[in-house]
Subunit: 218 residues, 2 copies
């Protein structure tokens, strides 16, 4: 399948690498076509890895992955173009992290809105699914880095789109029963609001490589 | 030990029951001395269970537990009185949940502040520790209701107060290594902001009886 990955940071490149390794074809999109990270990525990715603008990546992809920072996601997707996102699964990985000069974390938006919801509202023809924002990038595409069973989450308005994302997560190594469906796209708000907790846990554990699992009453 | 429990809802009564069962003496505090829930609780609690006003409960307790709703916690603690809280461990269980008429959840405060932090700022002589707000009440005092190892969290500025709370959690059945220290009282913000996630998980699981456990890189 052809994927457009919007965003050339560590998350975007990690997802793009995994998609190519799985046999998919990827265009990694950046603000400008001359983006050095995207050029370097495409050069080492082999014949199935390309670079382009946000619009070229969105045009290329049968599915689109938003791997930008949540604070710039809407701007990047506007550059990608609503007409190139319509009808496609749009997997949103982003978190709206805002760090103060002193390093304090806040979220924007938060509480009454989320990046996932904003994307779905602004691009009503896109089939937005929020997922994987609760994990460090290496774990997104390789859950076996942690022992035992652990969980990821999906949220979105389009049940068929969520099923496609669950299947993609399966390609990444996530068993179907490890994926917890948190309902409609407003579940993105719940997922993004776990970020301050994630940061504190990272500090407590001394590693970014950790994940949720849940114990339930039997 | 003598405990004052502020708040006569399900959380307060569950904590008070457990403390009495452990051999402690408890005054369950309510806005008015004639509160029927508190009277009924004291009547069935035996000689170590009492009821009183917020101020009487705080005066009675060598330690104080805030089991009010987060939206009214400060008002309740003002009624308890700063002079009756100073120097004491103040275990804050609250969450600032605000439900719209349509049932939508938001938090107030959120993102740049939390109930735990507000309590510590307004009562600087109290030794505030945030804990147990991530769990349904029956699990707070009986972790064995769920199989296997799972986690609770503490946050607070006073390390000795946190150690006292970890010991109390041990009395409740939480092994010391199940308690994750999330740092200073601003960790309360991270903990309270997990509430939308908790609500969505409850909906996905169809039960309130679930809890976090974490998988980490080995």
């Amino acid at each position: 399948m052809r994927y457009g990955v919007i965003g050339t940071g560590g998350v975007g490149r990690t997802i793009a690498d995994k998609l190519v390794a799985l046999g998919h074809e990827v265009t990694l999109g950046s603000r400008t076509k001359a983006n050095e990270a995207a050029l370097a990525w495409a050069e080492q990715a082999g014949p199935n890895g390309h670079n382009g603008t946000f619009a070229e990546a969105a045009e290329f992809g049968e599915r689109v992955v938003n791997a930008t920072a949540g604070t710039v996601a809407l701007e990047a997707l506007r550059a990608a173009g609503a007409e190139r996102l319509g009808g496609k699964v749009l997997l949103d990985l982003s978190n709206p992290l805002v760090f103060s000069p002193e390093g304090a974390l806040t979220l924007d938006p938060v509480n009454t809105d989320s990046v996932g919801e904003r994307i779905q509202r602004e691009f009503p023809q896109a089939r937005v699914v929020k997922a994987l924002n609760t994990l460090t990038a290496p774990l997104m595409v390789d859950p076996a880095r942690l022992p035992g069973e652990h969980n990821v989450f999906v949220a979105g308005d389009d049940a068929a789109a969520k099923a496609e994302v669950v299947a993609l997560l399966g390609e990444f190594g996530w068993p179907a029963d490890s994926v917890i469906d948190l309902g409609d796209i407003s579940g993105a708000r719940a997922l993004e609001m776990t970020m301050p907790f994630w940061i504190r846990l990272m500090q407590a554990f001394g590693t970014t490589e950790f994940n949720y699992s849940f114990k339930r009453a039997q």
